[in-house]
């Protein structure tokens, strides 16, 4: 039924429209309570649903945060254990290197001290004094001069002078001997000084290391206690490690691409240029496989050297087995690098051949113009082919950091996403509630006339009741 036909149930469309409007308003007014309940119910259901969803997301975010915290603490604990282990190894090295010869050093020190003591004992021996003539001289001097004391005194004087000269000679000799002994002590003093200096340096080094160990142990304890500050530091470090390792991995990927370019073309000579596996050329896949094998060998080499710890099985191998593995992986790498150098040379040969053929097909007779410096690019390509596999070995280090930090970064990203989602759900829930209220108001908008009448009637009824109560009182 169209609008036009609706307006024709009276001869006057305007009247029809007014009647229809009144009927519509009446219908809306009569169903107002039900409509309000329906709107309120729908808005409430939506709002509650969204709030429940928001709470669930918040709980999921909390669980994820807890898990991320555990992961961070575990990673931090492991890293600190490694650092402390390394510091202890350094202390052990210092002790082994500097203090291993302690018994020998002690013996030498004792000998030097003993020598010094002996020399000192010898040095303190005082030279004999001149005989004690003084009293005898006094007695003789007191005698009468006539008793020929002067002659005696002269003899005594003579003897004394002689004795004094002898005593002085002895004294000089003794002093000279003492000086010689003291001179002999000098090397021993120096030896003692040097030895003690070395000991002091070693001890200082150990003290410095022990201070570092103390610091790391404090941090380790903070991690074990699960302190928020430790988690915060670990989290920020993890993000930094993630970006740095991602950057290095990007550089390594570029190196891999260069490596791939070097060997993809000559690989076509080995496995055919037109075979496909799926949508990819077999030659390209073969070149990629070679590079992947090189990277894998690099990973195993790094694991064998215990520089990285991606595979606990390799780390747990016996030292003998690890050394064997190291030698094997290095030999394979060397072989691969040699093959790559050969392929890089082959690439240059193939390029020259292709250029010559293209020139022939173009009718270009300038093939006689041979570049005399072509050997430089050939050598450079061969060098790159040989060096790149070894350079790719070091990808293992950023890869390990990337893998370890990825867990944390993904966790942090997940937490952020869940937080935003929870906020959006909460906002939507509140929005639904307010939209329900708005819809009720909008419903009432065309009903302003009956609502106004209802309001007036209610006031009148209230007035009537009030009057009746007043009359009763």
């Amino acid at each position: 039924m169209s609008m036009t036909s609706l307006l024709t149930f009276t001869p006057w469309p305007a009247v029809s429209a007014v009647i229809l409007l009144i009927l519509l308003v009446a219908a809306l007014y009569l169903s107002r309570d039900t409509a309000h309940q329906a709107i309120h119910g729908a808005a409430d259901v939506l709002s509650r649903g969204l709030r429940v969803a928001s709470h669930s997301v918040i709980r999921a975010q909390e669980r994820l945060a807890m898990r991320n915290r555990d992961v961070l603490l575990a990673a931090g604990r492991e890293a600190k254990e490694r650092i402390v282990e390394r510091e202890f190894a350094r202390v052990a090295d210092t002790v082994r290197k500097d203090l291993a010869g302690y018994p020998d050093m002690h013996r030498r020190l004792s000998e030097a001290i003993q020598r010094i003591e002996q020399d000192q004992e010898k040095a303190v021996e005082v030279p004999p004094e001149a005989p004690g003539w003084a009293k005898a001289v006094k007695v003789v001097a007191d005698l009468d001069a006539r008793n020929a004391g002067a002659e005696i005194l002269a003899d005594i004087h003579k003897s004394m002078v002689k004795a004094h000269v002898a005593a002085m000679d002895d004294y000089r000799k003794a002093s000279s001997q003492r000086h010689t002994l003291l001179r002999r002590m000098m090397p021993d003093w120096r030896l003692i000084q040097e030895t003690l200096g070395r000991v002091s340096k070693a001890v200082e080094s150990v003290i410095t290391r022990s201070l570092a160990i103390d610091r790391h142990m404090e941090q380790y304890e903070a991690i074990v206690r699960g302190e928020d500050r430790a988690v915060s530091i670990l989290s920020s470090s993890s993000i930094v490690y993630f970006f740095v390792s991602a950057l290095v991995l990007a550089v390594a990927t570029a190196g891999t691409a260069v490596n791939f370019t070097l060997i993809a073309r000559p690989m076509a000579e080995m496995v055919g240029g037109t075979n496909f596996i799926g949508a990819y050329r077999t030659a390209d896949i073969a070149a990629l496989v070679i590079i992947m094998v090189e990277i894998s060998m690099g990973l195993f080499l790094m694991e064998s050297l215990r520089i990285t710890r991606l595979f606990p099985v390799i780390g747990a191998l016996t030292d003998k087995m690890r050394v064997r593995m190291m030698i094997t992986t290095f030999a394979i790498l060397l072989l691969m690098a040699t093959i790559e150098a050969g392929l890089a040379y082959m690439r240059e040969v193939l390029l020259s051949d292709e250029l010559a053929t293209s020139a022939l097909l173009r009718g270009d007779n300038s093939d006689s113009l041979v570049n005399a410096h072509l050997w430089i690019t050939t050598a450079a390509q061969m060098g790159m082919g040989f060096v790149l596999p070894f350079a790719l070995v070091f990808v293992a280090i950023p890869l390990e950091t990337f893998v370890h930090s990825l867990r944390t970064v993904v966790g942090l990203t997940g937490i952020a996403v869940l937080q935003v989602l929870a906020l959006i759900l909460r906002l939507l829930g509140n929005g639904c509630r307010h939209l329900g209220a708005l819809a009720q108001r909008l419903y009432d908008l065309p009903l302003f006339v009956p609502l106004w009448i209802e309001g007036r009637m209610r006031v009148a009824a209230a007035q009537e009741v009030a009057n009746a109560q007043e009359a009763r009182t």
Binding site: G272, G273, T274, F276, I277, G278, L361, R362
Partner: protein
Amino acid sequence: MKRHLLLLAVTIAMAGCAPSAPRNTGVYLLVDTSGTYNRQVHKAEQIILYALSRLQSSDSIAVACINTGSFTEKDIIAKTTFDDRPSTANKQKRAFASRVEKFVDQSTSAPYTDITGGLLQAIEFLNEKHTAHKTILILSDMKEDLAKGYVRNIPLDFRGFDVVALNVIKLRTDNFDPREYLARLDEWRAKVEKGGGHWRVINDIDRLDGLL
């Protein structure tokens, strides 16, 4: 769940190991040596060199001449399928170019023009090669002139073929009445398209970009 995963893995493995569809190209060049068109034969060398420069390993190429009776292998001047290895393919290209050069130098004029026979031979050759893309190049004025006794009003199956008429020169009579020229080309177009093929005409052989 495990079964589904296993099934998925097997499907992916089989898809990966399944022999892939051919991606190679087959080119068959028909060179008209009849009458006055024999003077245009040197242009064939230019087209062949261009084709050789575009073709890759595993592609096939053949060059045949159109003369009195062209539905025969004897008219094939040179044919080859390039080796899988690029270096060998380059050698083959050089050898092919050398053979074509020799043909161009020694080409003689034929009294009749059996284009349909040449096309039949081309279809047979390229179908045998099972190439993914099949292209027949015709260097001719497209004026068929059959000797007595040759039956050529047979339907041709051009499904999957690109037929390119190159350097279709105008004959003296075409100058008097261009409709003859246009009717000739329309007739060939109709014949090729009726057979399920795709028809093109390139008259400027200095602009062969996009030919292969």
